[in-house]
Structures are given as C-alpha cells and as structure tokens.
C-alpha cells in the first residue's frame, strides 16, 4: 500500500469501506465558477462531493437540506457568493439568515453540526473550494454514515423511563 502523503489520504485509507455521499449546493455565479476553476487548475479533491448547481444560494430552500440528509446524503454543503457579491445583489443575505436559523434548528434536534455546513466561495477562490471540500469530506468521514448517529439503546431506554418530565 502506498504511503499516505497527507492526513486526508491517511484518513481515507483508514475508512476505506466508507465513502460518504455529500451534496454541495453551489451557486451558479460564484462557487460553481470556483469549482470550475479548481478543475481547470487540475486541483485534486475528493470525489465524494456531488455538486448541484443552483442559480443562487438564496434558491436553496432549507427543506432541501433536510430532505437530502433523509434520502441518503451523509452531509450537505451550501455555498454561495460572499455577502455583498451576490449576482442578484441580495440572495445570499437572505440565505445567510435562513441557514443560520435552520442549522441551529437541525442541531437542536440532534444533527451533528458538521453534517450541514455553509460556506461563501467566490469564482476566483478555487483553492478555497478545494480546501472546503477536503475539510467537509474529512469531517463526514470522521462521523461515519448517517446511521451512525442513531442514539444508543441505553439513551433511548433512559429517555423512555423519564417520559413526561421535560
């Protein structure tokens, strides 16, 4: 087996059996262009991320995030232009507020924060795109598949015993 060159690859080898499915919503005008540039520059990043192009981060209905996590994705990334740089001027400002509240709501219900991440990546930030994908993939690999989040029997039993007291 070749010696792993980076911590990332070492991690990958350790979890060889688990290839996460990660969905990345990328806005057409910034992050998708950034991803394109990363490709043109032949940057390497894990192929576990599936890029879904959307017109604007403001187009990403937060419920899509939950649906993706329920329908087989192990992590979701939502990306858009830097605040102030939105092609439609304001879309990402709205997205930011929505995602801030929705992310907290999902975490309140017990979702590990790493499974739902949001990042602003401009069209020229190919490096940031690559680094983000590497980092998110690492995070999700550490967590394992969604099924790994299932609470243990002990926690469920303790909860049932305390039924009614909140």
């Amino acid at each position: 087996m070749p010696i792993a060159e980076t911590a990332h690859e070492a991690q990958g080898q350790a979890n060889e059996e688990f290839r996460p499915k990660i969905l990345a919503f990328c806005c057409n005008w910034c992050t998708y262009a950034g991803a394109d540039l990363a490709g043109l520059n032949r940057m390497n990043y894990p192929a576990d991320v599936k890029v879904l192009r959307v017109p604007c981060s403001g187009r990403v209905n937060p419920q899509h995030v939950l649906r993706a996590l329920q329908d087989g994705c192990d992590g979701v990334l939502v990306c858009g232009c830097h605040p102030g740089d939105c092609h439609y001027s304001t879309g990402n400002y709205y997205a930011k507020r929505r995602m801030m509240v929705f992310k907290r709501l999902l975490e309140f219900e017990g979702l590990p924060p790493e499974r739902f991440q949001i990042r602003w990546i401009s069209g020229s930030e190919a490096g940031k795109f690559r680094d983000t994908i590497v980092q998110v993939t690492d995070d999700i690999k550490k967590l394992g598949p969604m099924a790994a989040d299932e609470p243990s029997q002990a926690v469920v039993a303790a909860l049932r015993a305390k039924e009614g007291e909140l």
């Binding site: 939950l66 329920q70 709205y94 995602m99 709501l105 990042r119």
Partner: protein
C-alpha cells in the same frame, strides 16, 4: 355570568343589530362542564350564546379568515388573538378595516379537566390586546415570566439525548396536521406538504416523513410565530412543539434582535424576510 361574558354579549348584539359587522367570532359553551368552543354569532339571538370566561382555551382568530366573504367580522381578541390579527395583516390575509377587534384583557385560561393554567398561558408575554377597536374590561398586568425556561432545561441534554427525544417525538406524530391548521401563521393556499402528497398519512408513513413535516412546518412559521402555543395545545399526541418555536424565536432574538416575537406589530419585515449587510458572519 361573569362581567366579560355580559359585556361581550351586549357589544356583539349591538354590533350585529346596527349592521356594523356581519358576524362575531368568540366562544360558546359546549356540552360538558366548562367546555368551550370557537363560535360564530350572526344574529343577536346567537350573540346571547357567547361566553368569555377562563375556559376559552382555543385561539379564535383564525376563524375570521374563512368568514371574510360575509362582510366585516368582529373578533373577541385577547393578547394572542390580537397578535394573530397583526400576523394576518402582515401576511396580507386581512385588512384592518375587515375586522372589528373587541379587545379582552385576558385573565389567563384554565384547563377544564384539571383546573390548572393552560401551558400556553403560563408562557404568555402579552395578555392585553396589542390592537383593538374597543376594550371589554380593565387592562390586566402583563405577566413577568421566562417563556424559555423549558427550552433552557431541555438544552441541558446532550445531542444524542436530543436526537433520541426527537426521534421518539416524530415516531409519535400521526401527521394529522392539526398543528398546521390551528396556526395563525399557516395561511398558505397550498401547503408544502400537500405539494408533495395530498391527504393524510400515506401507506409509506415513516418517522422521517413526520420529521420532514414537523421540522419544516416549525421553520416556515419560526420567524412569524406569535408564540400562542395553539399548535401544541391542539396536538392530539401532546407533542412539545413549542420547544421548536421557542428555540427559533430565542435564536432570532440573539442573532438579529432585539426581537419581541411575531405579531407585535401590524407590519413586517419579519426577521427572515429581511437582512442587514452587517449581519453576523459565521460562514466565511
């Protein structure tokens, strides 16, 4: 008969008799002891059936929206109903001149079975109507309480415990949509759940679907919620839905606040329907 009932009946009778309004929305006695339900009075005779006492647990406001074709509607409104009226106006469901608000400073409601204060009333921050055309009775002192106390207790749990808790909760939900139908914020003509599947729970009913519904419903109303607690009151499974609502209200207050809660003002913008360019940045 208590004073409020007496005055509400008199006022309703007068408003109906002189044609100011086509109907009065309030409460009437049901069959059981202390059983009260939302009631629409269209004639002076029906107005004599109205009741306004400590057992009027239901939020009457949403009934107004289905009556607008009949003309101007009067609503007996406590703090929560008046906030719902503001909510309707901000959501363009109602114009101010379509409703005559009979304000009723709220004494706090009791559970007819146990005589205890209703949960939603123990978390209320606004008993006096926020708007009215006339008021029945004297203003009451506003309660000074911490409506987030339950939330803060709950947040002591670990993420794994919360995960188990909500899994349990969503397994119990029967997707009757009572929480949506009772909510004064839920006024979309076509709800997102019905865009995907019409009717009640399908054969493929799962906790995941209940979570999708429950979480997204809570989020859709999160920045408009008037914290009336009606969703939780009507839930036949007694699910603690206000945890999700209080969580969002408190987050919004902390992140974009100060935020007094939905329905305090007749106009928006609601916190998630606006932005500031200098909003907190955590996604860089």
């Amino acid at each position: 008969m208590n004073d409020a009932t007496q005055i509400v009946r008199e006022r309703a009778t007068a408003l109906l008799a002189d044609g100011t309004v086509a109907a009065v929305v309030g409460w009437a006695a049901g069959r059981g002891d202390h059983d009260r339900h939302v009631f629409v009075a269209r004639t002076p005779e029906e107005a004599a059936l109205l009741v306004a006492d400590q057992y009027c647990g239901a939020l009457a406001a949403k009934r107004v929206l289905s009556l607008l074709d009949e003309g101007k509607i009067a609503l007996v409104a406590r703090g929560c109903e008046s906030r719902a009226v503001n909510r309707f106006m901000a959501d363009r469901q109602l114009k101010r001149d379509q409703v005559h608000v009979i304000g009723w400073p709220c004494p706090g409601m009791l559970d007819p079975a146990t005589g205890d204060a209703l949960k939603r009333c123990t978390e209320c921050q606004r008993r006096n109507p926020v708007l009215s055309d006339e008021v029945v009775g004297d203003p009451v002192p506003e309660p000074e309480l911490d409506r987030f106390a339950e939330l803060e207790r709950f947040e002591q749990k670990t993420p794994e415990e919360r995960r188990a808790f909500f899994q349990d909760m969503y397994e119990s939900c029967i997707r009757c949509y009572a929480c949506r139908n009772a909510c004064p914020c839920c006024t979309c003509r076509v709800c997102f759940v019905d865009q995907e599947r019409v009717g009640w729970m399908g054969e493929e009913f799962t906790a995941d679907q209940a979570r999708y519904y429950g979480t997204v419903r809570a989020f859709h109303t999160g920045d408009r919620c008037i914290e009336c607690g009606e969703c939780q009151r009507v839930c036949p499974q007694h699910l603690p839905l206000m945890l999700l609502m209080h969580k969002q209200v408190r987050d919004i207050d902390g992140l974009f606040g100060p935020y007094p809660g939905g329905g305090m003002e007749p106009e928006g913008p609601d916190p998630l329907r606006t932005y500031h360019t200098d909003d907190l940045e955590e996604f860089m």
